[in-house]
Amino acid sequence: MKDLHTKTVKQETPKPTWLKVTYDQRKVDKMTHLLDGLQLNTVCAEANCPNLGECFGSGTASFMILGPNCTRACRFCDVPHGRPAPVDLLEPTRVAMATKKLNLKHVVVTSVDRDDLPDLGADQFVRVINEIRKYNPETTIEVLTPDFQGKTELLDRVIAAKPDVFNHNMETIRSLTPKVRYRATYDTSLKVLAYVKAHAPKDMFVKTGIMLGLGETDPEVYQLMDDLRAIDVDFLTIGQYVQPSKRHYQLREWVPMSRYEQYYKEAMSRGFKFVASSPLVRSSYKAREELEAVYGK
């Protein structure tokens, strides 16, 4: 993990009091120590997630494969953009062993974008899924993938490895996508989700997530929900964008809780099987709950 030693900069819009987490140093230190020994990157640390204290404190983490550096520089994201690392063929086994060591019932695997690789990183997802299954047959697996530039032959490979949940984030509404994301388009992401849903086994769920506070309006968010339901996306996560630094996309609004509740109702009424809508919701935050919700256990 890179330690950038940055300062917290007072933002022009002060953080609302409900953007609050509890931190138990002893538990977090224990988890950090455990993860350091496993030589794995977590999206929790690389993306500087505000829920790190809670998730590490309860012994869970989301793994980020294919190195710490991303080939894209999306304006909302805190994962470093830089020279990508060589593909580590031992990484799949380490992820599988970490899943076992942490006794994870549900594991989330994401990656940086790897536009430099011929397979764009798809085969490493396959290897990781296979290794997790081999050593943890009871664990449900969720992948949170890049768009693989919309290449369906790459999506086919990941689908064939049968993750339980296939997540790809839309991140925001159509009009803001070019301002917020880099080399990714609204239509490519929609196409990825549509393709996966149409070609995946019936028991594989398709999931996406968006951030609020970027300047979106209600009708645009509802249009996004309609676009997702038109292709039968199952799960939706909605959370508050927190600007990582002054260099990143400027926060437009701390969205009040009432709007999360409103979006939750609107989304559920459109037929999503599971919706998580709250300021601190992130793609993989308490991800197991979505499967508990659909399976009723």
Binding site: K7, T8, L19, L52, G53, L280
Partner: protein, 81 residues
């Protein structure tokens, strides 16, 4: 025995935070898990829990002040076994 409370690393990518509000005052009894103080990091407001049982003796950082990881923040008189 007097135990020192130091500012924990609350954010993977930031080592300097703004001190928020004290949730315990000098002379207050504190238990492990009680919220001692709040800190604003780059991403969130973090409530920091006490790791000790005892009496809060001194608050060594002012509310609103800039504070770094490792700074001495408070002292707690720990209950002797």
């Amino acid at each position: 025995m007097l135990k020192e409370v130091h500012m924990p690393k609350l954010s993977p990518k930031s080592d300097e935070y703004f001190f928020g509000t004290w949730q315990k005052q000098p002379g207050d009894a504190v238990k492990q898990g009680d919220i001692l103080f709040e800190v604003e990091t780059d991403k969130v407001i973090s409530e920091v829990q006490s790791q000790e049982d005892g009496i809060l003796k001194a608050q060594l950082v002012d509310e609103g002040a800039a504070t770094k990881v490792g700074d001495l923040v408070a002292t707690i008189e720990v209950n002797e076994e």
